[in-house]
Amino acid sequence: MTDLALTAPPRFARTRATLRRMLANRSFALGSLLFGFICIAALVGPLLVGIDPNALSIRDRFQPPSWQFLLGTDNLGRDMLSRVLYGARLSLGIGFAVIVLNAVFGVLLGALAGYYRRLDNILMRVADALMAFPAVLLAIGIAAALGPSAITAIVALAVVYIPRTARVVRASILVVRELDYVQAARASGATDARIITRHILPNCLAPLIVQLSFVFAYAILSEAVLSFLGLGSPPTVPSWGVLISEGRAYMREAAWLTMVPGVAIAITVLGLNLLGDGLRDVLDPRMKVEQG
């Protein structure tokens, strides 16, 4: 035991080695580049552009992309660049909130189910039932009941994806909890809470991070569907889905109104998928299961 501890590389060296392997992974590098670009655009973009996304200008209706209006204008003369950038804040914000809720409740429920066998049966049956619903359909059902808002979209998507995250956490806890060092910790009198938080969870992080990156991608796609159906954010703060839905009526004369937000969604989701693939290859090569 002590020999192993002595020969193990110091923590920072290991982290550095993992980081180096990540950057050497093409999927991860390209994914972070795309996703990083979108995140920076969402954070800094609105400040740089400095145009109110809701400022009307009837004179400039349906302007195609040009030097004056880089991404054109919509039916009310609003600047599309500014609207897409503000939309990025909302869409990414919703996606981020969904993965935070997933991380918190997915880990909590997954850990309870994986560690306490008695709870496992009940929790996993409820998870099975929730997962029996097609993901987007359940989100639509919940959002239809709660009424349209950004919070609704977050809650609906969190409810849909938390059981899936909890299952991933549970699966890795089931493996880790039987390992010798956990038994040793238990034998030395450590409490359950300490065993879970200090000894088990840190070793389940890799599959969790991979899962969260895919959940982020699904959340962006599903949020767009919800907004498109009028169940997400209100039109005053347009998310990408709302923008596509608004542009739909003018597809013939102003195709850019639907193209621009669609491409933004595609780049974000592509980036996240690449990021997830890369993370999976580097952190957890065994987990090559496609999640739905």
Partner: protein
């Protein structure tokens, strides 16, 4: 085999029970008074009382649940507020449309996903492989409703090849059906094809590296036969396992896709129900589609055991 099927069906009962309970509970998620939300601001006190009576909301909760299950067991999912007809009837009436497009889309998915995946694996690390991988990645990253809109602009508005929407039943005019069903089916299929390509490629790579394939090759069997006869049978296995997932995404995707193309299927029915707050229809549709998928998944699993002799001979797991 029969025992396995029966045990799978029995296992589905508690899940179906929970699923139905959740579908029932959706109406309780409505913030505030459900009747006021459904009736809208212009509803009089009498209207509200009528809505409550129709939905059974004026009864105590345990009575509501009991009535819900009594009706459910008789195939009664309530009455649509918007259409005024029984939910079950509306769903059954529209299901052939959705089933037709789903099958079309599934065939496209399988043909496209399998062939791209196999081509990628056979050309491992060459440009064809890279192209297929990029196709698959883009496929899983595009929002399908956006793809549908892009296809309308391209193929209907600009090229004028296909109608922008509408629907012609297959029994009436097969060519007309093909013309109206192709864009919805393709926009539903591309995403799934991406997913299937990824799975097929990785499975095929794994299969191709196995001993029996090397043996077959060293016996001098043509590459075509090695792939077609020896490898393909084993590649089909994981494909069957993702069938359930693919069907699930196809059916939930149909809400938006059918609404966009104006196809009168279950998806559009649900889409309309959502925009007009027709809760019995939302609950019924959700329950119906989920139950149908659960049964389809069992069918897929049974098919899987039948296809895989290792499980079949072992008596089924």
């Amino acid at each position: 085999m029969l025992g396995y099927t029966v045990s799978r069906l029995l296992q589905a009962i508690p899940i179906l029970f929970l699923v139905s309970l959740m579908a029932f509970g959706i109406i309780y998620l409505i913030p505030g008074d459900a009747a006021t939300v459904i009736g809208g601001p212009s509803a009089s006190a009498q209207d509200l009382a009528q809505i409550r009576a129709n939905l059974g909301l004026d009864q105590p909760l345990h009575v509501q649940i009991l009535t819900f299950y009594t009706n459910l067991l008789q195939g009664d999912l309530g009455r649509s507020l918007l259409l005024g007809v029984p939910v079950t009837e509306a769903i059954i009436q529209r299901s052939p449309v959705t089933i037709g497009i789903a099958i079309y889309s599934l065939v496209l998915t399988i043909v496209l996903g399998l062939s791209t995946g196999i081509i990628a694996a056979l050309n491992h690390n060459r440009w064809l492989d890279q192209a297929a991988t990029i196709f698959a990645l883009i496929g899983v990253s595009l929002p399908n409703f956006w793809l549908a809109l892009v296809m309308i602009v391209l193929f209907s508005v600009n090229l004028g090849w296909l109608p922008t929407g509408g629907y012609v039943p297959f029994s009436q005019d097969p060519i007309g059906w093909l013309r109206t069903a192709t864009m919805p089916a393709v926009s539903l299929a591309l995403l799934q094809a991406g997913l299937l390509t990824r799975i097929t490629r990785s499975t095929m790579l794994e299969v191709l590296s196995q001993d029996y394939i090397r043996t077959a090759r060293s016996k001098g069997i043509s590459e075509w036969k090695v792939v077609g006869k020896h490898a393909l049978a084993n590649v089909m296995m994981p494909v069957v396992t993702v069938l359930g997932l693919i069907l699930s995404v196809l059916l939930s995707g149909s809400i938006v896709i059918e609404t966009i193309f104006g196809v009168p299927g279950i998806g559009a029915l649900l889409g309309n129900a959502i925009s007009s707050r027709d809760y019995p229809m939302i609950q019924g549709g959700l329950l119906f589609v989920t139950a149908a998928l659960l049964l389809l998944n069992i069918l897929v699993d049974v098919l899987y055991t039948w296809l895989d002799p290792r499980i079949r001979v072992g008596g089924g797991k």
